[in-house]
Amino acid sequence: VTAATVPHEVHAPAPSGGGNLFLRAGWIRAAWMFCLFGAIGLGLVVVFRWWAGWYPLLDPAPVTLVAALVSAPLGFLAGLGAFDYWAYYAIGNPTRPEDHSGHGARSWRDYFRVNTDHKVIGVQYMVTTFVFFLIGGMLALLLRAELARPGIQFVDPQTFNGLFSVHATLMIFLFIVPVFAGIANFVVPLMLGAPDMAFPRLNALSFWLLPIAGIMMVSSFAISGGAFACGWTGYVPLCSTHQPLGAVFFNQGVQWAGASSIMTALNFLVTIITMRAPGMTFWRMPLLVWANFTTSLLVVVATPFIAGSQFFSMFDHVMHTAFFQADQGGYPLGYQHIFWFYSHPAVYIMMLPGFGIMSEVIAVFSRKPIFGYRLMALSLMAIVVLGFSVWAHHMFVSGMASWLRVPMMITTLLIAVPTGIKIFSWLATMWEGKLHFNTPMLFALGFLSMFVIGGLSGVMLGAVPIDIHVSDTYFVVAHIHYVLFGGSVFTIFAGLYYWFPKITGRMYDERLGKLHFWLTFVGFNLTFFPMHLIGVEGMPRRVADYVPKFADWNMFISLASFGLGASTIVFVYNVITSWRNGPPAGDNPWRAMTLEWQVSSPPPIFNFDEIPQVVGSPYEYGVPGAKHAIVEPSRTKEPEEVGV
């Protein structure tokens, strides 16, 4: 076991940058380099097309793809300074290896710079992804407004299809996947007793890829023909050759988000393997660290597959290749296989970090050790392995080889077993505990009950005959929202409330937190439970219009969804006011044992003044005299936070 900590007595100077305002890394350079690189991309396309004799020279598809979606964002990153260190190194200029000027945040402006501090990056991730969560949520409310009554009222079908496509894409690629990376960015190095992530510059780069991906997805509404409107699954040939240019924004946005995800996952793997404090064996790691370790394994293996599927689909669209064009010998089902080979593991990428958060929250607020710690860790590994063998359960009615259905059904049903182990172990952890119902715990309990429903409807969908009947209906919509909202989003809220005092040094308002929980819990169930019923009865998903017999339920669902959307206002208000004016939280308000709570709130700039020595399990609640680690109290403090 190795660990690395740099002793720091003084603060590094604030990033000076120096030199010309126009040339030094920052938003001004980002702006002109964005334009410059866009122009270079445009020039490349024109020159190549002229050279090859393809007319018109300014074909919108390749121009948009190369200039706007690839080279201009690269110029933005370069201008912001994401590549400065590597560029200096590559051309032989002196680099500044001992300069920690990229660490820490002294004012709100530091959150808008390329910052290499994992805590700053964590906050950047959480805030950015939450903005996209709000946008995605608003798109959902718009489409619920359209669905409140049968017929077409507010939006035309292309816009409607765009609404649910962008909604899903934002929620998946710009909220759930990266917000977990944000929480883990803040918490995992602290939990390991490490001063930072293994590759801080890579960490900064992977964050800055995200806003690019998100803006790309949202801006597709503004271009001619409208946003991509083929669902977040982007099935071909609908999405490759039957869609306006917006589809390319989806293909390419997924690449940016996917690259971000892969880089972060590599960073987590190396950090967790090499930067654990002395004594922190794998079997002493908190389950949140285990969860992010297994998630990262999934990400690095699976994410390249969705990148491949989107490249091929985009080539079919822009370059008129025929990877998935049946009339030219392509194979449309090939897309679905490659897509789901990522996108099913992606469900676990969106779930395992939440499992980690649950284990922390439930142990702390039950004041008891995690029940069956090793089986909890092993069940995560079992999910990783089994997760790669179930993808074709999304394709039971797709026309794939029919013999594949029964084996895929068996693995799908079996993956419920490790998931069940986790549910039962959490219940046993709470059994005979001393339960404190603070907001994180309420969301944890909400998660347990909702996720059981989502898991059970997953078992139903795993059974091929049932799946044949309900696939592509609202039953599936209900199922994925019970898993991703009742599951993932509830764990995200639990985690955000749980670490809020650590991140900001201030305590959130408990009454508002509880109000937020109850509004969300009730609104969520009223919105999504009826979808099971109308789905089985015959309402297909992804339709702008439906038969009158579903009118009452849809009106009910739409009204409930507006309530659910409004509940988020309580959360946003609570976070903003508490961040500015909340009472000081103290270092360890939850009396937790894991390492992040043993340092000041917010943590000092390099986390630990002395390397902690880990001596035991992180969950020894109730064991007299038990210690997880020996930690020197923080001497250096983070400068006062400036708020949002």
Binding site: P157, L414, V417, A463, P465, H469
Partner: protein, 240 residues
């Protein structure tokens, strides 16, 4: 664990299970089947629902009991007992779910095989999907075309599905069965209608702007009426 707590747990479990059962039974959420395949699918449905309600009641009972029974007093800063695990219990909640899901798997596989097995005297229908319409033709009777799907009651029907453009999906909720149409592939779907009536044909795979409107009608007729209809259609198409 004392006897009192077991009794309370069972009590809550029965109530939670009862509520879930009431929702499952009282709300009319399964379409009234109109094909033998749908009846078999319903059987799997209720089998799995039963298991799900059992598990849900178990978890809900434990959760509610825990929330009420183990709530700490506001000023109670003590910890719970340091229980780290129980090997027997952990084995049990690995084995029992494995058995349950295996049972679901076997039952489903059997139903799947039976639903795919053709009966004697199969009627063939070619289904063609395109943005945003269905058409049906009857190769056994000269290949005439129809915009509605008419089927005789009680006969095994094999639909052969094609698409002219993108992926669509053929679904009649009352028949239970569903199948995508894929460019470049021929897919099939087996249905044995067993109830007279008119049912919606719905496209369930997003296929573009008119996806919601891509509907047709399936009409299940008595064999005699069907034969008469086929005869009239063959004549019309021969004339045309």
């Amino acid at each position: 664990m004392r006897r009192g707590s077991i009794l309370t747990l069972v009590g809550i479990g029965v109530i939670a299970g009862g509520l879930a059962t009431a929702v499952a039974l009282l709300l009319p959420w399964l379409p009234h089947p109109a094909a033998r395949e749908a009846t078999r699918i319903d059987l799997v449905f209720w089998f799995v629902i039963g298991i799900c309600i059992f598990i849900f009641a178990l978890v809900a009972a434990a959760l509610l009991y825990i929330v009420v029974r183990f709530r700490a007093a506001p000023d109670d800063d003590s910890d719970g007992p340091p229980i780290h695990g129980h090997t027997g219990l952990e084995i049990a909640w690995t084995i029992v779910p494995t058995i349950l899901v295996t049972a679901i798997g076997i039952f489903s596989a059997v139903v799947l095989a039976r639903n795919d097995a053709l009966g004697k005297n199969v009627l063939h229908v070619d289904v063609t999907a395109q943005q945003f319409a269905w058409s049906f033709s009857y190769p056994d009777s000269g290949g005439f075309e129809s915009a509605t799907l008419r089927l005789p009651k009680g006969q095994s029907v094999l639909l052969t599905l094609h698409t002219k453009d993108v992926i669509h999906s053929f679904w009649v909720p009352e028949f239970g069965q569903k199948q995508d149409t894929v460019p470049g592939l021929t897919t099939t779907l087996h249905i044995t209608p067993d109830r007279l009536g008119t049912f919606p044909v719905i496209c369930t795979e997003l296929c573009g702007l008119g996806h919601a409107a891509m509907r047709s009608t399936a009409i299940v007729m008595t064999p005699a009426a069907f034969a008469a209809w086929v005869k009239s259609q063959s004549k019309t198409s021969a004339k045309g």
